[in-house]
Symmetry: C2
Subunit: 198 residues, 2 copies
């Protein structure tokens, strides 16, 4: 793009590398940055570098944190004997927003996917099994209800069963407020199978 | 958000300040950055800072560039006597992509908008009038076909008329490939008014 200067093009290219940012949005973001005061721009850049430098994985649950142990693994108000297994830190955040789960987490950083070449050794499964040597009451598997998430859930439950620790899977069904006529058949069947007495 | 570390929260906040980036996307962008290798992250931050430090306005047409004059104003393959007036650098880029315009530009950096409190003195209008002292054949007004864009076009044409320089306005009508039934009435009327003989 000859009509933009070298620096603008480089900036647009950098933004276009981000997930969910197309060519048009990258351009928009680049011009937004160029129109900001210099100190705001360097603050933005600093925040990016500092976050990357200071954030690491929690030694226990592998969520992203800036200490050896994350605030949840350190907390004595959390039940350290109930472990919820999630695919990533965003899923952990989603549960934390409910404010109703008082156990701890284990972040797999992915799900088993033969098509993407992601095997059990590529996610934090070994580390989960190591945690089960401690006193654990229950493992709640909260992987996504996608093909990969279900496969991962099944794989983990089979690994844990022999230890005698209780393994559960979050319910799958019609979302609250969901209109039945717009919900896919697989979800409807799941909702039917998972029905509970009233 | 207690469940994220301080640095992650700061990073999410920075991304959420960008235009068109909501809370969910900001989170997604932040985690994407945190999962990149350190050198890619610092390269991203460097590009942002460098672009801001090196990009300025072209002395002549006020597009964003990294030199005193932009490549278009410097080019002897461009007709410096035909000036297209646009609202911003992205509009200039849109015309450059067509590859069919061989004149030069003048970037207003906005449009007159009484509701937003933007008057003729807040956009690069004075600088446009100064350029007209040189030998200019035509000024093509390519502001948006919004209320503000139209008002700006009218204002500029009235300013230029007394100089005797030709002023034109880009055509407004049905977009190519547009389905008539989905096009608003104002556009349809414009298309009708602007009809040409076949």
């Amino acid at each position: 793009m000859e009509y933009y200067s070298k620096y603008i093009n480089q900036l647009i290219e950098e933004f276009a590398k981000l997930p969910g940012v197309g060519a048009k949005s990258a351009q928009r973001l680049a011009f937004h940055i160029l129109n900001l005061p210099e100190e705001q721009v360097s603050h933005f850049a600093d925040t990016v570098v500092k976050a990357k430098a200071n954030v690491r994985y929690c030694k226990k649950c592998f969520t992203l944190t800036d200490d050896e142990l994350c605030p949840i693994c350190r907390s004595d108000r959390r039940n350290q004997k109930v472990i919820m297994v999630v695919e990533n830190t965003r899923d952990l955040a989603a549960y934390e927003k409910t404010g109703k789960f008082d156990g701890v987490y284990h972040v797999l950083h992915g799900a088993i996917s033969p098509t993407l070449g992601i095997g059990p050794g590529d996610i934090r499964l070994k580390e989960l099994m190591e945690r089960l040597r401690d006193d654990v009451d229950e493992v709640i598997i909260s992987t996504n209800s996608s093909v990969e998430g279900e496969a991962t859930a099944l794989y983990i439950s089979k690994l844990i069963k022999p230890t005698g620790i209780k393994v559960s899977r979050i319910a799958s069904g019609v979302p609250v407020g969901g209109d039945l006529e717009y919900i896919d058949e697989v979800t409807l069947l799941r909702a039917l199978e998972g029905r509970t007495d009233m």
